[in-house]
């Protein structure tokens, strides 16, 4: 037997994505690539062309009479409930019956022989509308007396009003923060295949197979056990496929059952972007009191969000904005209130960070205000306000126990050479040229756990076959983040076998039930632990078997790389498993995990919603053209905390990708609605996500390799999906500093996001005019 020092694919080692070979050869199968059975039909959504209107009459005959059309699916064809609200608020119909609430809202689905025929026919409906006034943004909604779409939240500690009154310095302002489209490269898609009885199988691209299953059952009026949802992989998710796939799954499944044929639905990019939700736009009114040193004494923050026409996930999203409105800073007195506004726009949804980034950027805006008011470096203000000894309670009354922010920032400040580069930037700007520079070092602290506490559970299923090969399933979904790779590493480590021996197949509701969304950065934390539990169960049975078979003590049974040693006897893993099978050992186990320690009482705004925090910091330097507002990111340095990384190279990939996505959110990605309520940036031709050439000219990304999660997470790692997204704020703050230079840093530029070249130029002109006045 070949002696092997370590297994291939152990935890804490670099391992390529399990599908890397398939990705680069085009052999990775996405939902649209699955071979279609003969007779497959295609559905396409017909959508509203009004923004807010009563529906007087819909004439669908021209649609039905179009070439290739089988029929049209409307609300009347829904056998169960016409509702796909993910939080059970019953405010999100598959198809509305009386009222249109946003431009582009799906009204019906055409079912045709080909997708092209369905798509062309969908445009032929004649809808008679009775238009109503509309409100597109949260301020307009408040002015029009629109309701909260879901219950608002208040977090408070101390007496913010009194402390603001007393504070030596006090600044109030408003910040407008734009939303963001997910722009996953693979759009929404669902493909339903009818089965016998009530059964239906739905292949789709969702982050939340269990919810899609329950929603399909709900609209069909059948029990969940009739519905199977399968997801092999997604071409990107980013939160956009957490709840938004429900619509497509519902339409495909209803049609498949109605016509007893397989039905696929895939919107084109424009429909995907207009008919499905995005990151919430926020309008934030802040009021901050502080002392001469820039230490914050009190904060009042009012967070109004564009939620769209239905609640979807807006409750937890706007909650999380408040949970992160402190970022890494201690607020002695604080009051934070959310205003989740109903608007006549598409219902906004989850997006990487889930409201957190909008909270964090508000904290960083207040830091800027203080710095410019006092004539200090923003980094000094940040340091003065970090959580620390005796200053460690958050606005939601959780004590920060794992604070490594000061060390992260200190190390990055040194490795990025922040101080001398800042001096150079100041010297450059002092020359007063057209090209101005800015530099900013911004921190992020991000709470890990679903704030819906019951979501913090996961299941896994592990089979060891009698040839020694291993089959692994868990409730998480693979959307590119490498979750399957990491979970396989955990199982490989447990059995001490090469990871190549482990096959992870598609996520399916048949194998692991009642799963939570792969969201909130929780994928590895939850599913890794569940898989570990399953593997440990089997391993314990194997140890029992070995102690009996070899008459050994448990500690004399050692799992070595691809073999098992019992006292002096060493046998291969395969042979060992075969013996265990022959001895009738149960080689399959279902694993389960629930996150300990967490609790949250929303009514009082108190608890410990987060198991732990992930930390990071980024330093970015930019230059701007004060004639045009164009800019370039010259250099970015990142130091990010992932605890003891399960797979450092994949985690680094998450950090880099999240940073660029966060930068895009705050720079070139602009959602633009016209006055009529139509989203006019609805495809990559008009909606501009970063390109390769937008990367920082120099990009140094490091993981804090000394960090170890103080909580008992999977192998002491930390979640990585969302936290680094907020590192993009460093670019935004650096742009702000470059703008501030035109008025000698005496005025906070109050840039709104996204800082398009236009916003940068307009801020430059505003500050120049202010200086002249």
């Amino acid at each position: 037997m070949k002696d092997q020092a370590t297994i291939h694919g152990a935890v804490h080692t670099d391992l390529q994505h399990e599908s890397a070979f398939k990705h680069v050869t085009g052999r990775a199968t996405y939902t649209d690539d699955i071979a279609e059975p003969v007779g497959t039909l295609h559905a396409y959504l017909g959508v509203a062309t009004e923004t807010h209107a009563r529906i007087r009459k819909i004439d669908l005959d021209p649609v039905r009479n179009a070439p290739g059309v089988i029929d049209v699916l409307t609300a009347e064809d829904i056998p169960g409930h016409n509702d796909i609200s993910p939080t059970g608020r019953n405010d999100e119909p598959v198809f509305p019956t009386d009222k249109v609430e946003f431009n582009g809202q799906p009204l019906f689905a055409v079912i045709a022989e080909t997708r092209d025929a369905a798509r062309r026919a969908a445009e032929r409906a004649k809808v008679d509308y009775d238009p109503l006034p509309h409100a597109l943004d949260p301020v307009a909604a408040q002015e029009a007396g629109y309701p909260h779409i879901t219950d608002p939240l208040t977090l408070s500690r101390g007496d913010a009003s009194a402390a603001l009154e007393k504070a030596k310095h006090r600044i109030g302002g408003r910040m407008v923060v734009g939303g963001q489209d997910h722009m996953y490269l693979e759009g929404h898609i669902a493909f339903a295949v009818p089965g016998e009885d009530d059964d239906v199988i739905v292949h789709c691209s969702t982050q939340h197979p269990s919810e899609a299953q329950h929603m399909v059952a709900h609209v069909l009026g059948v029990p969940s056990n009739a519905v199977t949802v399968n997801v092999r992989r997604m071409g990107g998710g980013f939160g956009g496929k957490e709840s938004q796939m429900n619509l497509f799954c519902a339409v495909a499944a209803i049609a498949a059952k109605k016509w007893n044929r397989a039905v696929k639905i895939r919107p084109d990019r424009d429909q995907d972007m207009t008919a499905t939700g995005k990151r919430h736009d926020f309008v934030i009114d802040y009021d901050v009191g502080f002392d001469d040193e820039g230490r914050i004494e009190a904060v009042d923050g009012q967070f109004a969000a564009r939620c769209g026409y239905s609640s979807d996930l807006s409750g937890p999203v706007t909650d999380r904005a408040l949970f992160h409105a402190d970022n890494a800073y201690f607020y002695p007195h604080v009051r934070l209130e959310s205003h989740p506004m109903k608007t006549n726009t598409v219902s906004n949804t989850a997006f990487r960070g889930f409201g957190g980034p909008q909270g964090v950027i508000a904290a960083e805006r207040m830091v800027e205000e203080i710095a410019y008011a006092l004539g200090k470096d923003t980094l000094d203000i940040r340091k003065a306000n970090f959580y620390g000894e005796g200053r460690d309670v958050t606005p939601y009354h959780q004590t920060v126990e794992d604070n490594i922010m000061p060390r992260i920032v200190e190390e990055l400040e040194a490795s990025a050479d922040y101080q001398s580069r800042r001096e150079a930037v100041l010297a450059h700007n002092a020359k007063g040229g057209i090209i101005r520079r800015g530099i900013a070092l911004t921190p992020v602290k991000f709470g890990i756990s679903f704030t819906a506490t019951w979501y913090n559970q996961a299941g896994a299923l592990v089979h060891v076959y009698n040839d020694g090969s291993i089959h692994l399933n868990h409730g998480g979904t693979e959307m590119g983040q490498g979750l399957n790779t990491k979970v396989a590493q955990v199982v490989a480590e447990t059995f001490q076998v090469d990871v190549d021996r482990i096959k992870i197949t598609r996520t399916t509701t048949e194998k692991v039930p009642n799963t939570s969304a792969t969201a909130a950065s929780s994928g590895s934390d939850l599913n890794g632990m569940a898989a570990l539990d399953a593997a440990e169960q089997i391993k314990a049975r194997l140890v029992d078997f070995a102690t009996e078979r070899w008459q050994a003590e448990p500690e004399e049974v050692q799992f070595r790389p691809n073999r098992v040693q019992i006292r002096d006897e060493v046998i291969s893993f395969d042979a060992f498993i075969k013996e265990a099978y022959m001895a009738r050992v149960h080689l399959s186990a279902a694993g389960f995990y629930k996150t300990p320690k967490i609790h949250w009482d929303r009514a009082t705004g108190k608890g410990r919603p987060f198991y732990y925090y992930a930390y990071g910091a980024a330093c970015s330097e930019v230059e701007i053209d004060t004639l045009t507002g164009e800019y370039r990111v010259l250099r970015t340095d990142i130091l990010h905390d992932v605890g003891r990384s399960l797979n450092p190279v994949l985690d680094k990939g998450q950090v880099e990708g999240a940073f660029i996505q966060g930068m895009g959110w705050l720079t070139t990605e602009e959602l633009w609605w016209d006055d009529a309520g139509r989203l006019r940036t609805h495809a990559p031709s008009t909606y501009k996500i970063p390109l390769a050439s937008d990367r920082p000219r120099e990009f140094n990304v490091n993981l804090a390799d000394w960090s170890e999660n103080r909580e008992m997470t999977i192998k002491r790692s930390k979640a990585v999906g969302e936290p680094p997204f907020m590192l993009g704020i460093s670019v935004f703050e650096a742009l702000s500093m470059a703008v501030a230079s035109v008025a000698d840093y005496r005025e906070c530029p109050r840039l709104d996001a996204p800082a398009t070249p236009e916003r940068v130029l307009m801020a430059v002109e505003r500050l120049k005019a202010g200086r002249a006045a």
């Binding site: 994505h17 599908s19 070979f21 398939k22 680069v24 050869t25 085009g26 052999r27 990775a28 199968t29 649209d32 690539d33 071979a35 997910h182 722009m183 996953y184 490269l185 693979e186 759009g187 992989r233 071409g235 990107g236 980013f238 084109d268 990019r269 020359k431 057209i434 090209i435 590119g480 230059e623 053209d625 004639l627 045009t628 507002g629 164009e630 370039r632 190279v649 990939g653 880099e656 990708g657 940073f659 660029i660 996505q661 070139t668 602009e670 990559p684 031709s685 008009t686 996500i689 390109l691 390769a692 050439s693 990367r695 000219r697 990009f699 990304v701 398009t756 236009e758 130029l761 307009m762």
Partner: protein
């Protein structure tokens, strides 16, 4: 000769003949739905994301040249006589990874993997053209490919490392070049091709004269050159385009004639084909040209098409007008020539009669004392449509401005000269005062629109500031740059 009724091409390693190809049938649908080659993905269906990138080999004056294109907006009919190479053809029959694929795996260049085949194809084309590229060359090659997961860093690393995994001369397409050239030559029969149903007919003329005749016979036909705009009429607006006359294959429209005084190009010259002229003759267009769309679109799109299309935000008209370009239109055997600026009559209306087409474009070479510039403003630096674009050409004699042409895109319903601003310059001494006056005069030249690309106010301010930039750039030193770092 009887017209041929089918499209013939080489797809990866086999020849396919497809009858009844409608004008609006896309290559992407053909690959995915009919050939079940599902490695090529649809990300946007508008040529902006690159997930559908494939390689197309075409004979150009007898030589086989491969270029990447967007299969989503490329019409199948336009591929007659071409070699289409998809991701499925990259790894060897034994499943061994191609050097590009190996580099991508080794550098963790894929996360969700959906954009990956498109990136692999773009990097494949780059590697064949430039086995040891610089970072800047990689970025330029990848302007047409979006990735939402990785942040690009590992893909750039992979691109720089491909050369370590293999040399292009050992590549399948190099080794088979002769065979494939012969194969494609054998597909050329000099016949006109007419295919597709009556309401979606595709016509491929045999040569330029045949094109002129076909257009006389079908004056209502859609002329399709690179399809980088017409493609979207089909994929986005579901507009019928039949009958459509495809002209991208006509070598007769790809001529480039350089004399001592001017350059005349056929209307079918693509952005990529024009690029080699820039360094020698129009250095001021270097950065501007690389910021037109992405590589795939530059390989497909033609300058003639950009002009004939008449868009107020086309990238080439402002700079060509500033250089006093002329267009020659042809109808049957009759030709007429007019200054480019006169071709644009109004929004959506050009001075082109039924049966007439843009045949050539003549661009005078810069004269002594002439100073030219081309600027483009867009929300995102690369692969974005201009909010404002400008071509500026100023002639100075003994410190006096004797001629000034300033042509803007994005400021009016057509590409348009700034007459008042020009007047503010001509006859005045070269200096800040003249350019300040010109900037001020722009307000009487234009009242631009507000839309999702830019507000009217921003368009006006940047337009004015671009005139200031033009002035400052001539005086700028290293110590006081007026442009962002490259």
């Amino acid at each position: 000769m009887e017209p041929r009724r089918e499209i013939r091409l080489v797809l990866n390693d086999r020849e396919v003949a497809v009858p009844d190809v409608g004008a609006s049938q896309t290559l992407l649908d053909f690959l995915r739905l009919e050939q079940r080659l599902t490695g090529t993905k649809e990300g946007c269906a508008e040529g902006d994301c690159g997930a559908c990138t494939v390689l197309v080999g075409r004979l150009h004056d007898g030589a086989l040249r491969y270029e990447i294109v967007n299969a989503c907006i490329r019409f199948l009919a336009s591929l007659d006589g071409c070699h289409v190479v998809t991701i499925e053809h990259l790894s060897g029959p034994d499943g061994r990874l191609h050097p590009v694929q190996r580099a991508m795996v080794e550098h963790h260049g894929s996360q969700c993997g959906f954009c990956t085949p498109g990136f692999v194809m773009a990097l494949y084309a780059l590697w064949m053209a430039q086995p040891e590229p610089t970072v800047a060359q990689v970025e330029t090659a990848l302007q047409g490919n979006l990735c939402r997961c990785t942040g690009y860093e590992p893909i750039i690393a992979a691109a720089l490392a491909v050369g370590r995994h293999g040399t292009p001369s050992a590549d399948y397409l190099s080794r088979e070049r002769e065979t494939n050239t012969k194969h494609l030559k054998s597909l050329r029969d000099g016949r006109r091709v007419i295919t597709g149903p009556a309401d979606d007919q595709a016509i491929l003329p045999a040569d330029v004269d045949d094109f002129a005749q076909a257009l006389l016979d079908h004056p209502d036909a859609t002329i399709v050159a690179g399809a980088t705009d017409v493609g979207l009429w089909v994929t986005k607006f579901l507009r019928p385009i039949g009958p459509a006359i495809f002209i991208g294959h006509l070598d007769g429209l790809k001529s480039i004639d350089v004399t001592e005084t001017d350059i005349t190009i056929g209307a079918g010259v693509t952005y990529s084909e024009f690029a080699p002229l820039i360094a020698a003759h129009f250095p001021h267009l270097t950065e501007y040209w690389d910021r037109i769309a992405g590589w795939q679109v530059r390989n497909m799109g033609t300058i003639g098409g950009n002009i004939a299309n008449g868009s107020p935000i086309g990238d080439t008209p402002p700079v060509l007008i500033a250089m006093e370009a002329e267009v020659t239109l042809r109808r049957g055997d009759a030709r007429r020539t007019l200054p480019l600026e006169d071709f644009f009559v109004d929004y959506g209306k050009q001075d082109r009669a039924d049966g007439e087409f843009v045949e050539t474009i003549r661009i005078p070479l810069p004269r002594t004392g002439q100073c030219d510039a081309a600027y483009k403003i867009s929300k995102r630096r690369d692969e974005d449509i201009s909010s404002v674009a400008v071509g500026i050409s100023v002639v100075t004699e003994q410190e006096q401005i004797t001629r000034a042409i300033i042509a803007f895109g994005g400021m009016a319903a057509t590409p348009k000269r700034a007459a008042q601003a020009e007047a503010a310059l001509v006859g005045h001494p070269w200096g800040e005062a003249a350019f300040e006056a010109a900037a001020g005069a722009l307000a009487s030249d234009f009242s631009p629109l507000s839309d999702w690309r830019a507000s009217s106010d921003y368009r006006m301010r940047t337009a004015q500031n671009l005139l200031r930039r033009f002035y400052l750039e001539q005086a700028a030193g290293e110590d006081a740059p007026v442009r962002l770092s490259a």
